[in-house]
Symmetry: C2
Subunit: 199 residues, 2 copies
Amino acid sequence: MLSGMKDTLEKQIGFLRELDRLKSVVRRSILSHESRRENSAEHSWHVTMVAMTLVEHSDEPVDLNRVIRMLLVHDIVEIDAGDTYIYDMAGNEGKQARELAAADRLFGMLPDQQRVEFRALWDEFESKATPESRFANACDRLIPLLHNYWAKGHSWEENGVQSADVIRINRAIGDASGALWEYAHALIEESLEKGYLRP
Amino acid sequence: MLSGMKDTLEKQIGFLRELDRLKSVVRRSILSHESRRENSAEHSWHVTMVAMTLVEHSDEPVDLNRVIRMLLVHDIVEIDAGDTYIYDMAGNEGKQARELAAADRLFGMLPDQQRVEFRALWDEFESKATPESRFANACDRLIPLLHNYWAKGHSWEENGVQSADVIRINRAIGDASGALWEYAHALIEESLEKGYLRP
């Protein structure tokens, strides 16, 4: 193997080893078939499957391949920055600075061209400025809402979340898909009726 | 929402809920930064990142988007069929029948067109007949080998795996990438020298 190629490969393998740490970042959601919390690596797979399965409901045409790649990398920064619960106002204050530093370090482990490519995917996801990033973000909102519904409001209850918060945070699903927001909104209404969520 | 669209969406959400079960399918590999076994959902994310990161080392040109989609769905059948350890000869005997039945049931939860599309990805992965499926399979072999090396041979030791088995099983990496097989083979040699693997 040429030494340039070996150097490239060593950097890439080092990055892939670091990714193993995302499996230890624990989220608030609990699984629907066993009572343990979800980690950010398995979430990354699940939310990517959400996009692949629900893409026909996007209001704008999207390049699904770009949505998929964005979702695969969207939580890598949590290896350093941790998972910030979306309803945690205080935690969300310092979130951006923590995640920017994390993106610099983690994508910085890659060879130059790939660092730029992966970072661009993460920046686009964060920007919500393209149809692809809006749809990716909608999927990332929808899946915790589904988990909460399946778990009869477990993490809403645990964290004192109220229906107005849930509507405020999840309304952005409608920026990407009217159908998915209609579905999500009906789940929120049903959660209220069933007592999974406080008014 | 039109009732046809609602029906489609209900099927898709039912499938996505079923996917949550892949997070409870436990593999033999242990994580490199904590001593618990990996599950097949987090593995699915990690192996997809392997493909996205190492694609330049494929000997044949591949459509990375297809590789990614194949790897995202490749282990879904384990929800019903369980994870079969690649070095377990007896377990591998009934594997194909178990996995075919699982594919029928699980992809069968989807609306017609999507059932065909997702099933085709899984069939292609299993076939190893295209450059994309050979590269996807090479990534799926490489990552457990890396995990074993990082964990100083943990699951090789635990399951009495010998170096001839490791070479026989992983040689297929070379069908997709000479560079990755060269790298993998050097890791196997090093594992022998360090006592992570028995001759």
